[in-house]
């Protein structure tokens, strides 16, 4: 029997070794060697993740597997170690990260074929997996923060992967800097936790959570949530994510859909104990999520870039996950995160396959009619669309239904808004599907004559993810449909402490049936509308030159949020910096400093004149001096 501690430690170490091997041999390795090392290391981690998962399943409930490698920082009473924790929550994350990660690695072999940065790409990808694993496996806040910033770094490196294009570099910088705004909140929250609990170890903090005042807990959880807003692209820190689509498509799938952007969900779920102690923070999570879900969905309706639609859809879906967390339905949020990882990765990879086939065309106005030419891509993409739209029995149906049921139990208003976001989702996803695959081809004849289905390294991952997008929901079949909700059972130990606090409304089965019926019915209506508009009437979105109506124009331009940020934050910052540089620094402080030097100089010049060598003047001065002194003595 191999030591379980070694197995745990190896999970992140394998991708790290992969990264080191490839990055140190960037110029030497041929693509074949790189592919084997990169994919092999992730496959190895996946195998280990499975064995740890099995270990947890056969252990008594509440078991946590831990290992401490070494003391990392210890100074003046502060202490944080390199130690890992595998419990049901992190175990599930491990499976998703390494499983989906492996598929995307395989996919990338085909997608990045022939790129001069092939080796560099895979080294970054392995490094990303390493940091992502640290993020979810760390048993203390600081180690989570390491992973948190590390994945941000990899995201930056991969968005700007094609570094000759300064637009891509701008997108990379934007992502890093926006994330750093969130990170500042997160790290301050972490410090506040240390100040209040004297430890950053999850177990210590959660055990003593109730000893802190509600105000403190609220402050901590809000600060942490600022971090989540950055990483998981919620209002107001979401604008980096659509721009992040500048990176190669597998990156969009892995980092900007399936794993990294869900770090915020993981973090809030991990801290469920703290969040349940602060109703105010939970409300904040709920409403930020809710507003983001609707807001991003409306933008997605009017986008014409295949990846941008998916990006806004991701922002919107992440919003729905936060809605679940904000309602205290932590396992529901995690459930949707898992199914979303499957179908969104599938959709991105499908989009990548389309882009690949059309030689880097991303505008859906130039697509259409690809159904016959890319049959595997089409079928799998269709499955993804059905899953995200919540058509039973695809994966998204179960997880989304659970969120909506929880929302309904909370308040009708929340339910209406969330349902609206989810209906918009099915509309824009079918719009995307129809414009891409149906109708007559709008790409140039030259492109259409070269079109061909992608190679096996691309289609096999698509197929596997399609299966998961179909069946992934079965891990959480609700009682109303005769299931036992395995996932929620599995995660119970993680959320037990909170479940005791949060009051849960239980809906009648009849209510649940009614809700499901309404939603599914309306979804089908939305699909029908999309079909009529984009297939029957063959509407194609307006070209750039066409003038749009006010509402359409606003949505098409993403509510001008980027422009607003530029005007109220970026420009003022530069203005401030320039005025510091010119007025305060050069004309202010330095003038004073030089002035002091100058005055000594001028003063000396003036005093120099007194020593003019004329004896008469000296005697005169002396006499004046004596008179003054004498008169002073007489006067006082």
């Amino acid at each position: 029997m191999v030591d379980i501690k070694l197995l745990i430690a190896l999970v992140p170490i394998l991708p790290l070794v992969g990264f080191l091997l490839i990055s140190l041999n960037v110029k030497r390795f041929v693509p074949g060697v790189t592919s084997v090392i990169a994919c092999g290391s992730i496959l190895g981690s996946f195998a280990l993740a499975i064995s740890l998962f099995v270990q947890l399943l056969i252990s008594p409930e509440g078991t946590q597997l831990t290992v401490t490698l070494f003391d990392w920082i210890s100074a003046g009473g502060f202490q944080a170690s390199f130690s890992f924790l595998v419990d049901p929550l992190s175990s599930l994350m491990l499976l998703i990260i390494t499983g989906v990660g492996f598929l995307i690695h395989v996919y990338s072999i085909g997608y990045m074929h022939g790129d001069e940065g092939f080796n560099r790409f895979f080294s970054y990808l392995n490094l990303f997996v390493f940091f992502m694993l640290l993020l979810v496996m760390g048993s203390n806040y600081l180690l989570m923060f390491v992973g948190w910033e590390g994945v941000g770094l990899c995201s930056y490196l991969l968005i700007g992967f094609w570094f000759k294009n300064q637009d891509y570099n701008n997108a990379a910088n934007k992502a890093f800097i926006m994330n750093r705004i969130g990170d500042l909140g997160l790290i301050l929250g972490v410090i506040l936790i240390f100040v209040n609990f004297g430890s950053l170890q999850y177990s210590d903090v959660f055990a003593n959570a109730s000893t802190a005042s509600t105000e403190t807990i609220t402050l901590i959880t809000v600060l942490l949530f600022i971090g989540a807003m950055g990483k998981s692209a919620q209002i107001p820190l979401y604008t980096w994510l659509p721009d992040a689509m500048a990176g190669p498509t597998p990156v969009s799938a892995l980092i900007h859909a399936a794993t990294m952007v869900t770090a915020g969900i993981y973090m809030v779920a991990r801290n469920n104990v703290l969040y349940t102690l602060s109703p105010m923070a939970l409300e904040l999570v709920l409403y930020v999520g809710l507003i983001t879900a609707v807001f991003a969905a409306t933008i997605a309706v009017a986008q014409n870039d295949i990846k941008k639609v998916l990006a806004y859809s991701t922002v919107s879906q992440l919003g729905l996950m936060f809605v679940a967390l904000g309602l205290g339905a932590f396992s529901t949020g995690i459930f949707h995160m898992a199914t979303h990882a499957f179908f969104k990765a599938l959709l991105f990879l499908g989009a990548g396959s389309v882009i690949h086939a059309l030689h880097h065309e991303q505008d859906i106005r130039n697509m259409g009619g690809l159904k016959r030419h890319l049959p595997i891509t089409f079928i799998t993409f269709l499955i993804g669309v059905l899953a995200i739209s919540g058509i039973p029995p695809f994966a998204g149906f179960f997880s989304k239904d659970e969120i909506l049921a929880n929302a309904f139990a909370h308040s009708t208003l929340v339910w209406v808004v969330a349902a609206f976001a989810s209906l918009l989702t099915s509309f824009y996803m079918f719009r995307l599907l129809f414009l891409t695959f149906y109708g007559t081809p709008r790409a140039s004849e030259k492109t259409m004559s070269h079109i061909h289905e992608s190679p096996a390294s691309i289609t096999i991952p698509l197929a596997v993810l399609a299966v998961l997008s179909f069946a992934g929901g079965f891990m959480g079949i609700p009682e109303a449909l005769g299931g036992s909700h395995w996932l929620s059972e599995f995660l119970t130990p993680v959320f037990a402490q909170s479940l005791a606090i949060v009051q849960h409304h239980h809906l009648e089965h009849s209510t649940e049936y009614m809700l499901m019926g309404i939603i599914v019915g309306l979804t089908i209506v939305m699909i029908a509308i999309a079909y009529v508009v984009y297939v029957s009437k063959k509407t194609v979105p307006a070209a750039e030159t066409e003038k749009l109506g006010v509402a359409h124009n606003t949505v098409y331009n993403k509510y001008f949020v980027d422009e607003i940020y530029d005007a109220i934050i970026v420009k003022p910052l530069y203005w401030l910096s320039h005025s510091f540089d010119i007025f305060v620094e050069k004309l202010g402080i330095d003038k004073i400093v030089n002035g002091m030097g100058q005055s000594v100089d001028t003063g000396s010049r003036a005093l120099r004149l007194l020593q003019n060598g004329s004896i008469g003047f000296y005697i005169f001065a002396m006499v004046v001096g004596i008179v003054v002194l004498l008169s002073l003595t007489i006067l006082f």
Binding site: G76, F163, F176
Partner: protein, 491 residues
């Protein structure tokens, strides 16, 4: 005796160097600095971390009529800074091998003299001796900048010299004042000065605080006493800039720790807040200015002001976490800033410019340089698992504990630092090549030998900082407990 050898070996070497042939000067200087490094490693090896007293101590009267003693010794705080000096100087000398300087014996001789003075500052246990070494450090660097500097060096180095010298005079006045407060046969001995200082009533401790702080603040420099720095860093020859930013500014921080906090605790208690606020203003102010700089060297100069501001603010919280953070951050900053200025020098040697607008696309032709630059940049923006993170986190931690809002404002460095560093990287390395960078050659073997070890150090310190932290731990704790005691005894 080891300590004396450590101080005076570089001096001896610099004198011998004058006899060397010009073409061999750099080699001999390098050998001498490596011997000095070995010497310091021997000391580090023999050093007892658990002992709070100064080790390898040596004390002998020197000029009795002035109360001057040749009194030196090394505790954990000193040792870290000595190591920083002895590690960086060989790197600085070796990094210069590609440059050709006129009168190399003098140039390298001055560097070694500078090293003597720096080591002297970090190990002095006598007030006047400390002052002597402090001023002695100024002379070689003044000549290095004056003789081998760039455009309008005369005016700029003169300002630098007068400004820092002027600041130091306040310190001298304060030290002499304290000297006359010592009982009996007056003495400059550090413990005697400590006792005299602590016994003073608050108003006097207050002005002594400001007199000393001014000297240290100018050296680091802390806002608003910094305006000599960007010009001097820009105009100095690369090795001069490295000495100034890598090591010399740590004299100021070291001064705060050794010659301010224990000397006038009540003064620190009273005025520390003001000093922290100035430092924090400096972080934001200098970071903002860095964002709009067009010259790489000047940009790094401003970023250095920001980083130093965080160090001085964190250490003045007098929290052991902040103090330890300051120690580790001093080492990290020294190494990173050395690497940044070296990278700028490499770019300058190939393109003859520091101007960001004229660069771009270097990553296309020099991927190794770009990768090294990336790692150093990450260290500078304090990404976890680089050396920069450990210190920055501990410092922010102490500031946040001190006062939440101060910590939050200082924390903006996380964002602003990323803005100016990423911008620098993008403008110089990314994008398409231009005519100037098209023929840019990647790192030579010589340059790799300088930068690879630096990259390894940055990452290793980030992953396993424990050895460094443990060196200064006992000394820091001792210093702070003495501080608390003397504050308590005042009440």
């Amino acid at each position: 005796m080891l300590t004396l050898l450590l101080i005076f070996f570089p001096l001896l070497a610099s004198l011998v160097l004058l006899l060397a042939r010009p073409q061999n000067a750099k080699m001999w200087a390098f050998v001498a600095s490596v011997i000095e490094l070995v010497l310091s490693l021997v000391i580090a090896f023999l050093f007892d971390k658990s002992d709070i007293a100064a080790q390898f101590a040596f004390s002998a009267p020197w000029i009795t009529s002035m109360g001057l003693n040749l009194s030196v010794g090394i505790d954990g705080i000193s040792l870290l800074l000595v190591l920083l000096t002895t590690v960086l100087v060989p790197f600085i000398i070796y990094s210069s091998f590609n440059n050709t300087y006129e009168k190399p014996q003098t140039f390298y001789g001055l560097i070694l003299m500078m090293q003597m003075a720096l080591v002297g500052v970090f190990v002095s246990l006598d007030g006047l001796l400390f002052y002597l070494f402090w001023e002695m450090a100024l002379i070689p660097i003044y000549f290095i900048c004056l003789i081998w500097g760039g455009e309008s060096r005369g005016r700029i180095t003169f300002k630098f010299f007068v400004y820092t010298l002027g600041g130091s005079l306040f310190m001298l006045v304060a030290l002499v004042y304290l000297y006359f407060q010592t009982p009996g046969m007056h003495s400059f001995d550090i413990q005697a000065l400590y006792q005299a200082g602590r016994a003073l009533p608050l108003p006097e401790q207050g002005w002594i605080f400001w007199a000393m702080f001014l000297a240290f603040a100018i050296k680091m420099p802390v806002f608003p006493f910094h305006t000599w720095q960007p010009d001097t860093y820009t105009v100095a020859p690369t090795q001069g800039t490295m000495l100034l930013s890598g090591i010399m500014l740590k004299m100021g921080i070291y001064g705060l720790i050794r010659w301010l906090v224990p000397l006038v605790p009540a003064g620190v208690q009273e005025w520390g807040y003001t000093a922290i606020i100035l430092s924090v203003i400096g972080i934001i102010y200098a970071s903002c200015i860095a964002i709009v700089q067009k010259d790489m060297k000047r940009l790094i100069a401003y970023s250095s002001i920001a980083h130093v501001g965080l160090i001085s603010a964190g250490l003045l919280t007098l929290n052991p976490i902040g103090m330890q953070g300051a120690m580790v951050q001093m080492i990290s900053h020294g190494i990173i800033v050395f690497a940044l200025f070296y990278i700028v020098d490499i770019i300058f040697q190939r393109t003859k410019t520091h101007a960001l607008a004229e660069l771009g696309g270097i990553k296309n032709v020099a991927p190794i340089l770009a990768t090294v630059f990336t790692v150093v940049m990450l260290g500078s923006v304090a990404l976890p698992l680089t050396s920069g993170f450990v210190g920055e986190f501990l410092l922010l931690n102490s500031l946040f504990q001190y006062q939440m809002i101060v910590g939050a404002v200082a924390g903006l460095t996380i964002i602003l630092g990323a803005i100016y560093m990423l911008r620098t990287f993008q403008k110089s390395m990314s994008g398409e090549m231009n005519t100037l960078t098209k023929t840019f050659a990647d790192l030579t073997d010589h340059e790799k030998r300088v930068l690879y070890p630096i990259v390894v150090i940055i990452v290793l310190m980030g992953i396993y900082p424990a050895p460094l932290l443990s060196i200064s731990e006992a000394a820091v704790n001792n210093l702070l407990s003495l501080f608390t005691e003397s504050i308590a005894s005042l009440k």
